[in-house]
């Protein structure tokens, strides 16, 4: 979800027609945008855009275009898509197919670039590359001073040790391998090219280097400055449709700001989904066929067909009868959108332009019986019994540290499901027992008057290679008593009380487990199966948790009880 900065005056001027909204929030609903107030450093206004499928809205020009369409009842046609390519070409490389296959570009001529419009352009470029281009992996963009380029431009795959140039932000000439190692952008994006023997390079007809996509531009050609009036805007990437969409968006944004777009053609020595000669901007189709009844059926509305068409046009869509199906509408958008996958996408456009607040909320009419899961009912029963016995409930996190289980509880770690990519060692595993959670309470609560009688009924996760997910999520009862005379019998008596009311016959068998004093630990057995444990905590364990009070612990697997099934 990108957040962009806009200059409100510039933004209002882009909407045009003397636009001066009383509450900008209302219009931002059209673009799923949230008004986030002024940016403290620049004073510009922050707008967060929530639709990751609508990168055309990630700029002041894009938002303005959407608002303008509703104010005018339709959107304008952009010349960029109809214009004939001017003869300037990009020649692609057969070797690119396995590396970074696609490239596209166009020329823009217009009013001299200003500091403000340059900032705007760089912002668009960054948001598109980061948010839509998967941080340059699938799409990256380069913008250049076109006057300095001798066309055609070559998109070549080269040995990273051969080519060298002065990259933006540096004073010395570096070869491509050095850029990947030394330049901040090289280090940031080197992973995209990891393992590739050849890497992409853009060069002009005189072998001048434009850039090393997707890493960095050359300082000589790739540094646009205020006053420039002719730009070369290219994109490279791994998915041609995404590359073309980004070019389309940049082209219409520039056109809306008064620039003229001269499309360019890329010649590929291999087949692409769009042929061997591909222009940019490209008239990408984005259309769906919607059965007429579906609009009102999904929205619960009562809009006439004419009203639906009128509203969709005011959202910038084109609306026509389907050429093939009866009672069906073809809805399409300009080529800077690629978000129509299913008719529901056009139906949502209708909901947005009509305004979700104009739809009257109603309740689902059909009766359905409410019901708790059996497991939850059982958990609640156990909770009720424990509370009746005077135990205080705690709720702890499921994530714990591995050390808590293996070293501080002296348990065997083979039952632990750990995390491959933990954020911190403190939360690197799923708890297989509630004992660590309850000892954490004791660790923290020495100042609270004793006796302590605490319990949790909560989920733990135990490794189990027989299961589909190699683990079981187990709701457990864990109960701990701590006081000067805390004994095995305290919780043995609790267990027998709980077992009586749950109507299960649990036997005890000797259990030798590190967390319990030898000879004072028991395994709980129900119908021959292990369903938990009970015992006096080993002083070594108490010491490791800084607990200075004798304590006993009971754990019961709630999901192993007959009623859980």
């Amino acid at each position: 979800m990108p957040t962009i900065l806009v200059d409100l005056d510039d933004f209002y001027a882009l909407v045009g027609d003397g636009y001066q909204p009383a509450r900008i929030e209302d219009d931002l609903e059209l673009v799923k945008g949230e008004f986030k107030g002024p940016d403290p450093t620049t004073g510009r206004t922050r707008i967060e855009l929530n639709d990751t499928n609508r990168p055309d809205l990630w700029s002041a020009a894009g938002i303005a275009r959407q608002i303008r369409a509703r104010r005018r009842g339709k959107t304008e046609t952009h010349a960029a898509f109809a214009a004939t390519p001017g003869g300037k070409k990009i020649l692609a490389d057969a070797k690119a197919a396995d590396i970074r296959p696609y490239v596209a570009g166009f020329i823009a001529r217009g009013p001299a670039v200003t500091d403000a419009s340059l900032a705007e352009l760089i912002q668009s470029q960054e948001k598109l590359c980061d948010g839509y281009g998967a941080k340059r992996k699938t799409v990256s963009v380069g913008i250049y001073r076109a006057q300095k380029i001798a066309f055609p431009v070559h998109y070549r795959m080269v040995d990273p040790r051969t080519a060298k140039f002065v990259p933006l932000g540096m004073d010395d000439e570096l070869n491509l391998a050095q850029i990947l190692e030394q330049h901040p952008k090289g280090k940031e994006y080197a992973h995209i090219l990891a393992g590739k023997p050849l890497v992409p390079l853009l060069q002009d007809a005189n072998d001048q280097i434009l850039s090393f996509p997707p890493i960095i531009n050359s300082r000589a050609i790739g540094e646009v400055v205020a006053g420039d009036t002719e730009l070369f805007v290219e994109a490279t990437g791994t998915d041609l449709r995404s590359v073309l969409l980004v070019e389309n968006i940049l082209a219409v944004d520039l056109e809306d700001r008064g620039w003229t777009i001269e499309p360019m053609v890329v010649e590929y020595p291999f087949d692409t989904p769009f042929g061997r000669e591909v222009r940019a901007p490209y008239p990408l189709p984005n259309e769906v066929e919607v059965p007429n009844d579906d609009f009102n059926r999904l929205l619960g509305g009562e809009l006439s067909h004419d009203e639906i068409a009128k509203q969709l046009r005011a959202y910038g869509c084109d609306v026509a009868k389907s050429a093939t199906a009866k009672h069906t509408t073809r809805v399409s958008t300009p080529p800077y959108r690629q978000d129509y996958m299913h008719p529901v996408d056009a139906i949502e456009d209708l909901a947005v332009v009509v305004g979700v607040n104009t739809l009257e909320p109603i309740w689902p009419a059909r009766f359905t019986p409410g019901r708790l899961a059996t497991l939850t009912l059982l958990e609640d029963k156990v909770r009720e019994l424990m509370i009746g016995l005077g135990f205080e409930e705690i709720i702890a996190n499921v994530l714990c540290s591995k050390v808590d289980i293996t070293e501080r509880l002296r348990l065997d770690g083979s039952q632990v499901v750990a995390i491959e990519n933990p954020m911190s060692e403190s939360y690197a595993a799923l708890r297989p027992t509630l004992l660590a959670s309850l000892l954490a309470v004791e660790e923290r609560s020495a100042k609270t008057a004793y006796p302590h009688r605490v319990f949790e009924v909560g989920e733990a996760v135990v490794r189990d290679d027989d299961e589909n997910h190699l683990s079981r999520t187990e709701p457990l009862l864990g109960a701990l008593v701590a006081h000067p005379e805390a004994r095995f019998s305290d919780l043995h008596s609790v267990l027998s009380y709980v077992a009586f009311y749950l109507d299960v016959a649990i036997e005890l068998r000797p259990l030798d487990r590190g967390c319990f004093l030898p000879g004072r630990g028991a395994e709980l057995v129900l119908d021959g199966k292990s369903v938990g444990m009970l015992g006096e905590l080993h002083p070594e364990v108490l010491e490791r948790w800084g607990v200075k009070m004798p304590a006993s612990y009971l754990e019961l697997r709630i999901s192993a009880l007959p009623d859980a099934r």
Partner: protein
């Protein structure tokens, strides 16, 4: 005289004993002496004296305090081992040593400073050396003092020699300096005497002792209760504190939400915390290149294991939905679906995984389902991010279900669960719903806040499971409301291990 009578009826037997003890002696007496005279515990004497002071039946006759010195825990350790200066000397006797080699004893740097000042050690090139033939007698005297102080609890001036007392009080008087773990205290002593009121009370207090404080089974058996007088209680005495079994306050909140959802006709869903990417993401039509699916957004199970099985034909249908729409009426995301990555095991990052699973379980139509599910996100833990958290969400299936029903439900949740005073909706974006909305509400205490989001599941989500009716999906963000209900502003406190803190939380009635 009525005042006196009132006071007498509520006079505690301990108070009566103290009054009589004071009346029986000419001199004012301290609480220890009173306890002795009244044949009660000193703590009882202190308690009863305090009550009598409040009633102005006794007054303080004299008050003084006597200074003493004592060892704290650090000092006890020094007495057992050695004071830092001597510990340093022992180390340096084995040869010159750097700061790091001198260990990490408490007050080490202060001790080094003191030794340098007294020219007992020197430092050159970062190493400390003992000064030859230096006079360590003052240091040794300090060690003897500390050792002596370890033999008792408190030492008054009379217990120590004059030089020892001066040295001990000097050391104790310098907070933050190398005080050798010696602290200073004042033992307060006071004597009490009867006031005029106290003397009147004491004269009559003899009767009180004959009053009975407790009804006993014997009295009931032999009827003797008829012949005794029961002492009236003083209602202002604070009772002993009770603690008892209690639901966790956050549980009360979650239970209240559950109760509401049951009352709206929702059935509960439960499921595994370790989840496959298939159910967590792919079944929800989140493309495998979606930014929220990167390694830095979800937790993977260690070793990157795969789920053994995925259900067919659902798994193939979902793959087709991603690649080209399959039979869902969609063109799909149009990328090659990774059939191996979809089996990777992760920690459930969204409760919607349970809704996806429900779609695969032949759900009721019409049907309503909800879950309060533990979820895990790759985030720094801070005041707004707990290591793991509960998500509340669900689905509604029905032939005739549409967007206005979603709005109706969200409104119902706002009014009935969240106590919204006002609500509105904005269009939202979730990869698995279209259309999508976000609900905003005005909470009586928080003000405007986001209540949650929802939408109608995309056909790419429902059709792979053979579900052809619209399915509403919704989620509620109630953590902030739970925090307000519990009176906390750090989300980690929802999972606090501090019993005092938990005991101090009230039990609000939650709708």
């Amino acid at each position: 005289m009525t005042d006196l009578a009132d006071l007498l009826t509520t006079l505690h037997p301990l108070e009566a004993k103290v009054l009589r003890a004071l009346a029986g002696t000419d001199a004012a007496a301290g609480e220890a002496r009173i306890a002795e005279l009244a044949a009660i515990q000193e703590s009882q004497a202190r308690m009863a004296s305090q009550w009598l002071l409040a009633k102005a039946a006794v007054e303080v006759a004299s008050e003084d305090s006597t200074p003493f010195v004592a060892l704290d825990e650090t000092g006890q350790q020094f007495a057992k081992d050695a004071i830092p200066e001597l510990a340093i000397r022992r180390k340096l006797e084995q040869g010159p040593a750097a700061m790091a080699d001198l260990g990490d004893a408490k007050d080490l740097s202060a001790a080094i400073g003191a030794l340098k000042k007294q020219k007992l050690i020197t430092v050159a090139q970062g190493k400390f050396t003992l000064v030859a033939k230096a006079d360590w007698s003052a240091i040794e005297a300090d060690q003897q003092l500390v050792t002596k102080l370890a033999t008792g609890e408190r030492f008054f001036e009379s217990d120590l020699g004059a030089r020892e007392w001066k040295r001990a009080t000097d050391l104790a008087g310098k907070p933050g300096k190398a005080s050798l773990g010696i602290r200073r205290g004042e033992q307060k002593r006071r004597t009490l005497q009867l006031t005029a009121l106290g003397r009147d009370l004491a004269a009559k207090a003899g009767d009180v002792a004959d009053e009975v404080s407790q009804l006993t089974p014997e009295m009931l058996r032999d009827g003797s209760w008829r012949n005794v007088k029961f002492r009236a209680y003083n209602l202002q005495i604070p009772p002993p504190r009770s603690t008892g079994g209690r639901r966790h306050p956050y549980r009360e909140f979650l239970d209240a939400v559950r109760r509401k959802l049951i009352s709206f006709g929702f059935e509960e869903m439960r499921g595994s915390i370790v989840e496959s990417e298939f159910w967590n993401n792919d079944a929800l039509f989140m493309p495998q290149f979606h930014p929220a699916r990167a390694i830095h957004d979800v937790y993977f199970v260690e070793g990157m294991p795969r789920a053994k099985d995925l259900p067919e034909p659902a798994a193939s249908n979902v793959a087709a939905a991603h690649e080209n729409g399959g039979a869902t009426g969609s063109i799909g995301w149009r990328y090659p679906f990774d059939r191996d990555a979809t089996r990777r095991l992760i920690l459930r990052s969204q409760g919607t995984a349970l809704s996806a699973r429900q779609l695969g379980k032949n759900p009721n139509i019409p049907g309503k389902y909800f879950a309060i599910a533990r979820c895990f996100r790759f985030d720094d833990v801070d005041a707004t991010h707990a290591p793991d958290f509960f998500q509340i969400e669900g689905i509604v299936l029905g032939e005739e279900v549409h967007l206005r029903h979603l709005l109706g439900l969200m409104k119902l949740f706002g009014l009935e669960i969240a106590r919204a005073e006002e609500m509105y909706f904005t269009p939202g974006y979730f990869p698995f719903t279209e259309p999508s909305v976000e609900a905003h509400m005005r909470h009586p205490k928080i003000g405007w806040m986001e209540l949650g989001g929802g939408g109608i599941f995309r056909p790419e989500v429902t059709k792979p499971f053979g579900i052809d009716v619209p399915v509403i999906a919704w989620g509620l963000g109630l953590d902030r409301m739970a925090m307000v209900a519990l009176g906390i502003d750090d989300i980690r406190d929802l999972f606090s291990p501090d019993l005092d803190f938990l005991r101090s939380r009230k039990s609000p009635i939650l709708g």
